[in-house]
Subunit: 254 residues, 2 copies
């Protein structure tokens, strides 16, 4: 039987917790230790932990699951001649400052504390300087996900930026809708099926071909009516900006 | 056994087609006839059709599945003393100009030609002037959907406006992401799980509690980087507007 690939996880936040949960289900990967600067966050982990970088054990992969800003500093303090990878969408591989091999292990999902995820469905974007390290990361990633891809730093930046549009910005639009419903005593639940179906359609058809509504139809009567309905100036501004953007896009791309 | 409720459908577009498909599966509703101004659109229907309003047969419900702008004119030409309902999200019940009973039968979903939908999951918003007519519409709606609700004209206006945010505007954000991926030779598929999960989460938790990302974190380094990455001025403007809106919202609602 193949020896498991051994990992030390550095960080104890959302990504670390979700990865630990996923690695616990596979015999191909063994997490040896979790490091965190503060002890309190380590209390809940059911495996060896440390708050001292001097106590790190030897492992095949040192996986940084820390805030973007901590990647450079923390990696610079790690042992030399080991494989260090970060999990950040927005940082290039070269932001790792360890003396030795580098890579990236980026699970493209928005993790929420307390909501468990099906890792099998989560794309994991991999990058490494040398083929041997890529192969190691591939074994680790494929042990938990069915969607593993080589993605270089530049492509990952684009994905991270795109994720802001489809996740952060879409979620804000849902927030606006929920707020409008609440103000008018309509249950936001009524919109749930539309939210789900809109997302599903974007994964079946190209979203540019799914565009409907008063903006793309140039239905100026409905547009005026909607703008009149919006009392919140911020919502009004967003409505007008997105309407104009939709019209410009579909004019340019006829 | 209960007599089916009989319907004449006026219109032959997307909504008419999808409703016909749904009604075909229930014995509680019988569509007697489809009317359309033009003959060509009627060719594909497998039941009696007419292009003349003088040939309309007697039915319990005359259901208008036409463009918003046609509701007033077409309803004004219908027989007196019958129940006429429209299927529009944005038109008040009083926009019906028939002499007689009025109601609304609004399925809250975005219908795409050729993509069949599971009507059981689609909320149907009902309104009627009198209780007896509401009961009739309720039997019809519950025969095809598990989510039937009384929604008055003012609430329906709010839902229609909210639907623009969660459907039209979200879809545009998906379009931007697809475009950014295409320009940088990354497969848009990588973002599919994030799109689906973001939508799903909004139906489980209040979306305001799901907000993540550089805007709400006030991570100005990432925000600056993203804005620099966006070459398209329209995308840049949307990024800045939505970032500001998210920050204003979460400042006001702390």
């Amino acid at each position: 039987m193949q020896q498991p690939i051994t990992i030390v996880i550095l960080g104890a936040g959302n990504i670390a917790t979700h990865l630990l949960e996923a690695f616990a289900k596979t015999s191909l990967v063994e997490v040896l230790q979790v490091y965190n600067h503060h002890q309190d966050k380590l209390e809940s982990f059911n495996l060896p932990t440390t708050t001292s970088l001097h106590e790190l054990v030897t492992a095949d992969v040192y996986l940084l699951a820390v805030k973007d800003d901590a990647v450079a500093t923390l990696s610079s303090k790690l042992p030399t001649n080991v494989l260090v990878v970060h999990t950040s969408g927005s940082k290039a591989m070269t932001e790792l400052k360890n003396v030795g091999r580098k890579g990236v292990f980026y699970p493209l999902q928005s993790f929420t504390k307390g909501i468990s995820v099906n890792f099998k469905e989560i794309p994991i974007c991999l990058e490494a300087e040398i083929k041997e390290d890529y192969n190691t990361l591939q074994i680790v990633a494929e042990a938990i996900s069915d969607h593993v891809r080589p993605i270089n730093s530049q492509q990952r930046e684009v994905l991270h930026l795109s994720a802001v549009f489809v996740n952060n910005f879409s979620n804000y639009l849902y927030t606006v809708a929920e707020d409008l419903c609440k103000l008018n005593k309509v249950s936001f639940d009524v919109l749930h099926p539309l939210i789900i179906e809109t997302a599903r359609k974007a994964t079946v058809n190209s979203p540019r071909n799914n565009q409907t509504g008063p903006a793309v139809r140039k239905d100026s009567m409905t547009l005026q009516k909607h703008i009149g309905q919006l009392e919140n100036s911020s919502y009004k501004h967003i409505y007008q900006s997105l309407t104009k953007a939709i019209q410009d896009y579909h004019l340019d791309n006829l």
